[in-house]
């Protein structure tokens, strides 16, 4: 299989879908330049620059989807979806229920997400928890080129709506755009295995709602998405050196959530550490806690999350986002809690 970058992988999926289905459209600010190879191949009708009007853009995508087209609407950064949340959550997400399942909007909202390059908290948010909190929205966050292609294809085939989030640290296109040539010197912690990898050609769809076990392990389960998965893999290697056999589960889609995979791993390892670049109260880490508790896995739970607004200064940003150091420390704490937990659960009975 050819080695492909994360950005190319998405383009591969998109161009394959556009070639196959005349009804796939791309619309967004600057897409004729940003997606210029698609623009060249498919022209001004199907790759459309919009004004800086995200509500109109998402509404247009929604209406077109309702009328049988398959638009991919690009909100540059997911942070900007906040100016157009109504179209997404009160309209696109509610169509299926309100129409009694008769009307669907096969709409993909594509946006860059995540931090770690010094843009600060108005441009570096994850927000997948907030989006996944809305019934009726699917939210996917690929961590590898293969999944980037596979999940984009799946999103394009889904009855929708699907939010497709690409982490800026994984996407050459965005890294280029946001960091320019300073990025080497700005010492970004780019996970290489996420930015380039093997992608089958033609790409194959990765089903929504299926987590991938990136590393097996018996003592501890790290559960994450996006760049977090790579942080977990590094931490798992470190922990393994200490004799802690650490599994890494890549959720791949925040909604639908692969509750089975989480439950299974929680039961088998007894310790779940969620590594979530989204806010502590963004919803994902809490949801995992709820899943493992509701299903009586008896697993201990801990989390490494973004605990506040992401500050600009690089060292503050580094502390705010999940990093290997924080994961390892949290893993130690989680495993160290064992005895205390046994005592307290004794008392509770």
């Amino acid at each position: 299989m050819p080695r492909t970058t994360f950005s190319q992988a998405i383009e591969l999926a998109l161009s394959a879908a556009m070639a196959e289905d005349d009804r796939v459209l791309v619309l967004g600010e600057d897409v004729q330049m940003l997606r210029r190879s698609l623009f060249l191949r498919f022209g001004t009708q199907r790759v459309r620059n919009t004004p800086i009007s995200e509500s109109a853009m998402l509404g247009t995508a929604l209406g077109a989807a309702m009328a049988g087209w398959r638009p991919v609407a690009e909100i540059m950064f997911v942070d900007f979806v906040t100016v157009a949340m109504d179209m997404l959550m009160n309209h696109a997400a509610k169509l299926a229920t309100f129409s009694n399942g008769r009307w669907r909007a096969p709409l993909v909202v594509r946006a860059a997400c995540g931090g770690g390059y010094g843009d600060a908290g108005q441009h570096e948010q994850a927000l997948w928890g907030m989006l996944a909190g809305v019934p009726g929205l699917s939210v996917v966050v690929p961590s590898t080129p293969a999944d980037a292609a596979g999940l984009m294809l799946a999103a394009l085939h889904d009855p929708g709506p699907v939010v497709f989030l690409e982490h800026k640290l994984l996407s050459q296109d965005w890294l280029e755009a946001v960091g320019g040539h300073s990025r080497a010197r700005a010492a970004l912690d780019v996970p290489e295995n996420g930015t380039i990898g093997e992608v089958s050609f033609p790409p194959e769809a990765t089903p929504l709602g299926q987590a991938a076990l990136r590393r097996p392990g018996t003592n501890l389960a790290l559960v994450s998405v996006g760049v977090g998965v790579h942080r977990c893999l590094s931490a798992a290697a470190t922990l393994a050196d200490e004799g802690i056999d650490t599994a890494v589960l890549d959720l791949r889609t925040v909604s639908p959530l692969d509750r089975e995979a989480v439950t299974e791993l929680a039961s088998s390892t007894g310790h779940v550490l969620v590594v979530d670049e989204d806010y502590t109260r963004g919803g994902l880490s809490g949801e995992i806690a709820a899943v493992i508790a509701e299903r009586d896995t008896g697993a201990r739970f801990g989390r490494v999350t973004c605990e506040g607004t992401i500050p600009y200064a690089r060292e503050l940003e580094r502390e705010m986002l999940p990093n290997e150091q924080r994961i390892v420390t949290a893993a130690h704490r989680l495993l160290g809690r064992e005895s205390r937990q046994a005592a307290s659960s004794q008392r509770a009975r």
């Binding site: 929604l62 009328a67 169509l95």
Partner: protein, 343 residues
């Protein structure tokens, strides 16, 4: 497009809408329809005049005064009644209700969010433009909605892309209890012109006038000449929604006295601003109530009355009878047997 409106069929459509709304009001008063029930009574001429130009394949994106346009666009009355009654056999299985009526077959969608019909109609319009078969998409929204950012974004987008869209702004001069003029800088015409849109203003109570203006707008859209902004002056005959406190005050002197007395008393109560400021507030409130009352005593603005006057009395009566029967029949069918929900 014939050059003269078929007043009979327009009146027929208006009667259907009116009787449906009257029926809805009754059901709401009986507690069988729930929530904030916004009627479209007073908008019938506008809706009939526009909808008459729509063909199968054309799309409709409307606000929460949604039953009339759905009726005019040919959606089954029984399905609508059942929907509003929350019946499993309703248009949307009872899941949508009156603020979110959806009919994929008719490409018709409603929303309870002010202004939301505008972005969605752009999507319908884009689909029509890409399909290239001369379809059009029509949006209805109120005069208050033009201040919602997404509406203005949509006017721009439709204008830039020359979408086959007709934006129908139903100007009833009110947004709930606020006089729209007091919060809309520049006015509606000016506003829409700022987006490079052709603007047509029409008396939305005059069905023939609406029919002609809408015909040109729809025709232009079909021919690829882009969107039009149609301002139609309409009435709000039943207040903002059923049970509107403002209407109760405006209609019932007893309620008026009961409501206003404490307000007047309030002018002297508690610490706060000085008397002149308080009196100014009182004056503003009084003006609002007076405007609502005035709205009540102008029955000649009722579009049905106006249209009736243009027909032979016997003809009108026959249409009324026919449509009353149709609506009553649909209601009877809807209430006849509840469709049970399978668990």
């Amino acid at each position: 497009m014939s050059a003269q409106p078929d007043l009979r069929s327009l009146y027929r459509q208006m009667c259907r809408m009116r009787y449906v709304e009257e029926t809805v009001a009754g059901l709401w008063n009986d507690g069988l329809i729930t929530g904030e029930m916004h009627l479209g009574t007073g908008e019938e001429a506008t809706i009939a005049g526009v909808a008459a130009h729509l063909r199968p394949g054309d799309a409709l994106s409307v606000d929460y005064r949604s039953t009339p346009p759905f009726v005019a666009h040919g959606v089954d009355l029984e399905a609508i009644f059942r929907e509003l009654l929350g019946d499993a056999g309703g248009l949307d299985g009872g899941r949508a209700g009156h603020m979110h009526l959806l009919s994929p077959e008719h490409l018709a969608a409603a929303s309870g969010i002010v202004g939301a019909s505008a972005p969605v109609v752009c999507g319908f319009g884009l689909a029509a433009q890409l399909d290239g078969r001369g379809q059009v998409a029509v949006a209805f929204f109120g005069d208050g909605a033009v201040n919602e950012g997404m509406v203005m974004e949509s006017l721009n987008l439709a204008s830039v892309w020359r979408l086959p869209v007709v934006f129908v702004c139903k100007d009833n001069r009110w947004a709930v209890t606020t006089r729209s003029r007091s919060v809309t800088a520049g006015g509606l015409r000016h506003r829409a012109r700022g987006f490079g849109l052709p603007v047509v203003t029409v008396d939305g109570r005059d069905v023939a006038a609406v029919w002609r203006a809408a015909g040109r707008a729809v025709d232009n859209a079909r021919r690829g000449l882009g969107p039009t902004f149609l301002i139609a002056r309409v009435e709000r005959l039943e207040g903002h929604f059923l049970g509107d406190p403002l209407m109760q005050v405006a209609r019932n002197t007893r309620v008026l006295t009961a409501e206003v007395a404490p307000l007047v008393a309030g002018v002297w109560s508690g610490p706060g601003a000085g008397l002149p400021v308080r009196l100014r507030s009182l004056m503003r409130l009084s003006q609002t109530i007076a405007a609502a009352m005035l709205g009540q005593v102008r029955p000649r603005k009722d579009p049905l009355m106006l249209t009736r006057g243009l027909l032979e009395a016997s003809q009108a009566a026959a249409l009324e009878q026919e449509t009353r029967a149709e609506v009553a029949g649909a209601l009877a069918a809807a209430r006849g047997g509840k469709v049970l929900r399978s668990a």
